[in-house]
């Protein structure tokens, strides 16, 4: 299995770290508080890269692997940052039968990232979602708050070019 460190360079600030350390110190004496710490960390940084998980490991003495195990168990935690433009492609039933799978693959190839990842420049992140309630427009995707419907694979380039 290839390692899952994000390819986006880490740019945490001293201020963020202080905030995280304060949150850890507030929680660390409570048994079973790792999930709460990870939630705080994700609130502060937006995601949980190795640099952030190491801060938690060093401060609490909890092994890094145990922290990573919890972070990958729960869907609420992300190892990758969200991009400046968050592409969310619906793979719900209606969109899927209308060819969203191919469409999704095309974007993935174009950006060189998989579902859940972010481009190294931090511009685009990609994720698959399930039904956004616009089945009449299937297949559909959103880029931040912009909605695109009745898509074809040929439109990928022109949509990405807008950002």
């Amino acid at each position: 299995m290839p390692n899952r460190k994000t390819n986006v360079p880490f740019v945490g600030t001293k201020e963020q770290e202080d905030k995280l350390l304060a949150a850890i110190d507030r929680l660390k004496d409570d048994k079973g508080s790792l999930i709460a710490m990870l939630q705080s960390a994700q609130d502060i940084y937006g995601y949980l890269p190795i640099e952030v998980q190491r801060i938690i490991a060093d401060r609490t003495g909890i092994p890094l692997e145990e922290i990573y195990g919890v972070a990958t168990f729960y869907a609420q935690f992300s190892l990758n940052p969200k991009g400046q433009y968050k592409i969310s492609c619906c793979l719900g039933t209606a969109c899927y039968v209308k060819g969203a799978g191919d469409f999704f693959q095309k974007i993935s190839d174009e950006l060189g990232i998989k579902s859940g990842d972010c481009t190294p420049d931090g511009k685009f992140s990609l994720e698959a979602c399930r039904c956004i309630g616009a089945c009449g427009l299937a297949p559909v995707l959103t880029v931040n708050d912009d909605v695109y419907g009745r898509l074809t694979a040929e439109e990928v380039d022109s949509i990405l070019a807008k950002y």
Binding site: N3, R4, Q53, R54, E66, T72, L79
Partner: protein, 582 residues
């Protein structure tokens, strides 16, 4: 019977056991073995694999006998049709995601899953076909490989790494069908703070984790007419190798082991015990030096490469406390490629030293940067006891029928002090036998330091040596080492000398020793039985103090000068480096 005895019936047999006993243990006490896969006594009692299920009258569903306590009047059936059907279904499901390459698997023949499938007569192994995750084999570590395609997610390795060793570099990642055992951020094992102890290997029920087999390199060397290939056997290997040939746990097979190695074609079959005596000469001297000249104390032993690596990763602040002595394996190699080479008139480059070791971390140790004598590596290949067993099998040598033979000269002579190196407390006792006499200049009334013997994880003792009071501590298993070092750090303990062995119980329970299935491990104290055999060997040896060995006297007179001399330092001492915590 006392109040806390519980009476129950297992398969209609009356059983009386203490309260708190599990059904699994109660059944075992009346000769019934309930199969298990995930259960490992004290460290992995998670009731996850569902192989040990039994029927309990009045319970709505089958229960996991490994964690279910007995109750008064309970009626248990361990092999009812429902139980057997359930276990078989579980096995079929496990097999459905298992890489079934049993013919070429290193664990074929002692795989716990294979044994159960045979016992339960699982016929249609492809009954549940469908999508399977495919994992790359991780061969990044020096000492082992992990093949998650054979992993059954029992988590025994995770428990060994975390609970026994407090190393915790492996764990359960992801969820559901994607669940797999791996390191943080799915880094390769070679990239993280793994200490190479191999405890994960000896608890794995299948072939998912195994040492890197280096037997072919040794076969090649043996076939090379230009190489002088010699083997050294560690103190503990002689009391475990027999297990590779189905002999009872703890059988001392020193004579047969020597005979078998000679028949494999080694040019010399030598005893690492000689180098253990040498380690004591240097280490006891180093201790006396540190005490008398105000050096860094407590001094901590450095024979266990798993422990040394753990120290470098987790407690770099204790590096100055580590004895600078190389381990017996490395000292043997250094002497073989210097004094021995000179004596035999062989170019050191043509000498190929093989270690027969209880340990997977020895594979790491041979590659340590510092372990070099001039331009030579001290030891060329470190094989585990298991690999030695496989070589003997492959050569068609009928081990149990061999005569007992003696080690070759000049390294055939060793003391009782060296033999007990293989058990926790042994190095401490051996060092005390020599250091005490070096300090006082008088003969010890008794060489038995009983307080540091035994299988407990942490042992303490205080000895009066002349005018000195010496506080010693012995720890085995790295979670115990962690506890001891933290108490030293907090200033709660004032030890002068600490012995630490990476594996629980010391080398006799090392990660390179023969794999015993959980069915044995959970009911036999391997540490205790194997160690007893070493202490018996110590008792029976004529010389029990390293400094009284004629070989030591000759080696120092002839070649090394005095313990701690510049030449001894060049050959027999090493240094350490700080490594990352994760």
């Amino acid at each position: 019977m006392s109040d806390n005895t519980v009476n129950l019936k297992i398969n209609n047999i009356e059983v009386a056991v203490p309260e708190g006993t599990t059904i699994l243990e109660a059944a075992r006490s009346v000769g019934i073995e309930i199969p298990t896969l995930c259960y490992l006594k004290e460290i992995n009692e998670i009731g996850a694999c569902r192989i040990c299920v039994v029927e309990v009258k009045g319970q709505r569903s089958l229960v996991a006998s490994c964690v279910f306590p007995v109750a008064e009047g309970m009626e248990v059936r361990t092999a009812s049709p429902l139980v057997l059907k359930s276990r078989r279904l579980t096995l079929e499901l496990i097999l459905s995601t298992h890489k079934r390459t049993c013919l070429s698997c290193v664990r074929s023949g002692n795989c716990e899953l294979q044994r159960l499938c045979k016992e339960f007569h699982v016929e249609d192994e492809e009954f549940y076909d469908g999508f399977n995750n495919e994992y790359e084999v991780d061969d990044s570590a020096v000492h082992m490989k992990r093949d998650n395609n054979k992993c059954i997610l029992c988590r025994r390795c995770v428990a060994a790494c975390g609970k026994w060793q407090s190393v915790s570099v492996i764990g359960t990642n992801d969820r559901g069908f994607d669940t797999h055992i791996g390191c943080a951020f799915d880094e390769d094992l070679g990239e993280v703070a793994c200490v190479s102890c191999g405890q994960c290997i000896v608890v794995c029920p299948t072939g998912a984790i195994y040492e890197k087999d280096q037997t072919n390199e040794v076969w090649d060397a043996l076939a090379d007419p230009n190489k002088h290939v010699i083997v050294q056997t560690s103190p503990s290997t002689r009391v475990t190798l027999g297990e590779c040939f189905d002999m009872p746990v703890g059988t001392n097979v020193e004579g047969k082991m020597v005979a078998a190695l000679r028949r494999l074609g080694f040019d010399g079959v030598y005893d690492t015990d000689f180098a253990a005596d040498l380690t004591i000469m240097e280490e006891a001297h180093e201790f006396v030096e540190r005490v008398s000249s105000g050096g860094t104390l407590p001094m901590i032993t450095s024979c266990s490469p798993g422990w040394v690596k753990f120290c470098e990763h987790q407690f770099p602040e204790f590096i100055p406390n580590l004895s600078t002595c190389k381990s017996p394996q490395q000292m043997f190699g250094a002497i073989a490629k210097s004094w021995y080479a000179e004596k035999k008139g062989i170019d050191p480059k043509d000498i190929f030293v093989v270690g027969a070791m209880p340990c997977t971390a020895k594979k790491f140790e041979v590659g340590r940067d510092a372990e070099e004598t001039w331009t030579q590596v001290d030891v060329d290949i470190a094989l585990t006891t298991r690999e030695i067993g496989r070589m003997i099998q492959r050569a068609g040598i009928l081990f149990t029928e061999l005569p007992d033979e003696e080690f070759d000269n000049p390294f055939e002579e060793a003391t009782g002090a060296a033999v007990i190196f293989g058990a926790t407390g042994g190095v401490m006792e051996a060092a005390l036998r020599t250091a005490a006499e070096e300090i006082t200049g008088q003969e010890l009334p008794s060489v038995d330091f009983e307080e540091v013997r035994g299988t407990q994880g942490i042992k303490e003792a205080t000895y009066k040596v002349g005018d000195l009071t010496v506080n010693v501590c012995v720890a085995s298993g790295l979670s115990n080492a962690r506890r001891v070092l933290e108490s030293v750090k907090r200033g709660e303990k004032d030890y002068h000398f600490i012995e630490i062995m990476g594996c629980p119980g010391g080398c006799i329970n090392g990660g390179g020793q023969p794999v015993q299935p959980a069915a044995v491990r959970n009911f036999v104290d391997l540490k205790k039985v194997r160690a007893a055999s070493l202490y018996e060997a110590d008792r029976n040896l004529p010389i029990r103090k390293s400094h009284e060995s004629p070989l030591m006297k000759m080696l120092y007179k002839d070649y090394l000068g005095k313990p701690g001399s510049p030449r001894a330092h060049e050959l027999l001492h090493t240094h350490y480096k700080k490594r990352g915590r994760h």
